[in-house]
């Protein structure tokens, strides 16, 4: 039994078919990359799985239970966490409070939630900025906060939407190391949308490629980079030659 199954999923935005009959499986403990050019339907696919969009047809099955069309807070309670490509950066709450809200998802006790939130902040190296507001932080830390609060809900599957966008090469490297640690130490299955090949290729065990709403390929990273269609649609000749 696959951990997450997407079966023949269709999402049609009144003429624009953002996801056209997409199917794939993810096994527990994998790291899966989802790549494709802008407008390929990657975020829409995420939103359909998590519940921000209701798919027009098709099924999403998580741990053997159908979750198609469940609201985002319900899929989260089933064990799916997600981060956003663009995080709303507000002055409303501190870093600690943000993570605390995530931890409250699993407990009603404020002290337990605080312990959990502190542990996660420590794990991600955010201890020093815990009292800062989001708008006072550099983008790399903001991304980590997004990660931290999703982790605080104790997901089994974590879906990351462009977690490395806007980061410089050094920060990207740190993020990759962090993702590896999350995967190994917390035993969380990762499913990531990513444009930065330096992130996807080294850590993904499998890569799914979307283009124009259709799945054009999936497989091992080293197979994907040699796939003619993928090179044409997305990677470009240059990247293929570099390999």
């Amino acid at each position: 039994m696959a951990f997450l199954q997407v079966i023949d999923l269709v999402k049609d935005f009144g003429g624009v078919v953002a996801n056209n009959h997409i199917s794939f499986d993810i096994d527990q403990g994998e790291i899966i990359g989802l790549i494709g050019p802008n407008g390929a339907g990657k975020t829409t696919l995420f939103n359909c799985i998590v519940g921000y969009h209701k798919p027009d047809s098709g099924k999403v099955v998580f741990k053997g239970k159908e979750i198609t069309g469940l609201k985002p807070f319900m899929t989260n309670r089933e064990g799916i966490g997600r981060t956003f490509q663009i995080m709303k950066v507000t002055a409303g709450m501190t870093v600690l409070e943000n993570v605390l809200v995530g931890a409250f998802c699993r407990t009603d006790n404020r002290h337990l939630a605080k312990v959990e939130a502190s542990a996660i902040l420590g794990f991600l190296g955010l201890d020093e900025v815990r009292e800062y507001h989001l708008n006072e932080l550099p983008i790399a830390s903001q991304k980590k906060v997004g990660l931290a609060r999703a982790l605080a809900t104790q997901p089994e599957l974590l879906m990351l939407d462009e977690v490395a966008s806007g980061l410089n090469p050094k920060e990207t490297e740190e993020m990759v190391a962090l993702l590896k640690r999350i995967h190994q130490e917390k035993k969380i299955t990762l499913f990531l949308i990513e444009h930065v090949m330096e992130v996807v290729m080294p850590i993904s065990q499998k890569v799914i490629v979307l283009d124009g709403g259709e799945k054009i390929a999936d497989g091992l990273p080293k197979e994907i980079v040699k796939n003619e269609r993928v090179i044409k649609a997305y990677l470009g000749e240059k990247y293929a030659k570099g390999l």
């Binding site: 921000y52 807070f73 989260n76 309670r77 956003f84 709303k88 995530g102 404020r110 939630a113 609060r149």
Partner: protein, 332 residues
């Protein structure tokens, strides 16, 4: 136990805030003995009452960030329950007030459920509408006195069962007790799970949902808490004025005042609603009685009132408390 400890624990406030609260409490305790006349005492009573209203509004309007402009209907529900039960069945305040709160809770869940399908401006408009509809029903409902309202039968002074007194001092301490009950509740609320969840819903509802938060249900809960607060105040209003009609306890004007005071003082802060009420109630009352009495100056009080609100909201959308915090940050 822990809930109680959280409610009475003000240790995360700054020293200045705690001293301020202490002095303020001391002032309230001795206020009736300072020799002020009944006009000033009434102003103080209204100040505490509107602080209570504002604190209630602050749960959904401040922490939850929903522009809620229909709180007057719950003032009405609280006030009418107390008044009618006393007139019809001679039921004491201490029984009818909790019943009023329960009715307000039930009613708020009922209309909160469809109401929170709406967002932003549409939600604000819908809250105004529900309040106006209820007011219209009461204006035309003969059984509850229609537009004439109801008068409460007067009891001998002092009556602690029906909460009727001749002297404002009694009413003052009574509303002060309710005010502090509200204050301690809010001190617990802002640290509670629901408090945090509302704040992230206000910041980013999408993200909140991704963290396992049922945003709509949270808003309904907060809306009901706010309604319960306001219904308590409504009950007080009935026994304080001994007369209620749909215009005095269910008016749109009242709804807007409640929201405005909390916003002016500083929404989503502990002291905002109190500061807002401390500004606007005396302004409203004193300006009204000083300027309103002069020929040619009628309406000037409203102009000053409006100008103040515009200045504060233009300068700092987070209200007077926002301005204070801004200065504190700069100083630090």
């Amino acid at each position: 136990m822990e809930t109680l400890r959280d409610a009475f624990d003000f240790s995360d406030f700054s020293r200045a805030e705690r001293i301020g609260l202490g002095l303020f409490t001391l002032f309230l305790f001795i206020f009736p003995w300072l020799g002020f006349g009944s006009f000033v005492k009434t102003v103080m009573i209204y100040f505490l009452l509107f602080s209570l209203f504002g604190m209630g509004w602050n749960t959904i309007g401040g922490y939850g960030g929903q522009v809620e402009l229909g709180k007057a209907q719950y003032v009405g529900i609280g006030a009418y329950t107390v008044a009618l039960m006393m007139v019809w069945w001679k039921i004491p305040f201490w029984v009818s007030m909790p019943i009023g709160v329960l009715i307000a809770l039930g009613y708020s869940f009922m209309i909160g459920y469809p109401l929170f399908r709406l967002k932003g401006h549409y939600f604000a408009i819908a809250t105004i509408c529900t309040s106006l509809v209820l007011q219209d029903i009461f204006i035309n409902w003969k059984l509850v006195g229609a537009a004439k309202g109801i008068e409460l039968p007067i009891h001998d002074h002092p009556d602690f069962l029906y909460m009727q007194f001749k002297s404002d001092t009694y009413y003052f301490y009574f509303i002060m007790a309710l005010f502090y009950a509200g204050l301690f509740y809010m001190n617990w609320f802002r640290k509670s799970k629901l408090g945090y969840q509302l704040r992230i819903i206000k910041d980013d509802e999408e993200a909140a949902e991704s963290l396992g938060i049922d945003a709509r249900w949270c808003k309904i809960k907060a809306y009901s808490i706010a309604s319960a607060f306001v219904a308590v105040g409504g009950g007080f209003l009935a026994v304080f004025n001994l007369y209620i009609d749909p215009y005095s306890v269910m008016d749109l004007d009242l709804s807007i005042k409640i929201a405005l005071m909390a916003m002016l003082g500083g929404a989503a802060s502990m002291w905002g609603p109190i500061i807002g009420a401390a500004f606007l109630i005396p302004l409203d009352r004193f300006l009204g009685s000083w300027l309103g009495g002069h020929k040619g100056l009628i309406g000037v009080d409203f102009m000053i009132y409006a100008a103040m609100i515009m200045i504060v909201s233009a300068y700092q959308p987070r209200g007077i408390w926002g301005i204070i915090e801004q200065f504190r940050r700069r100083g630090a």
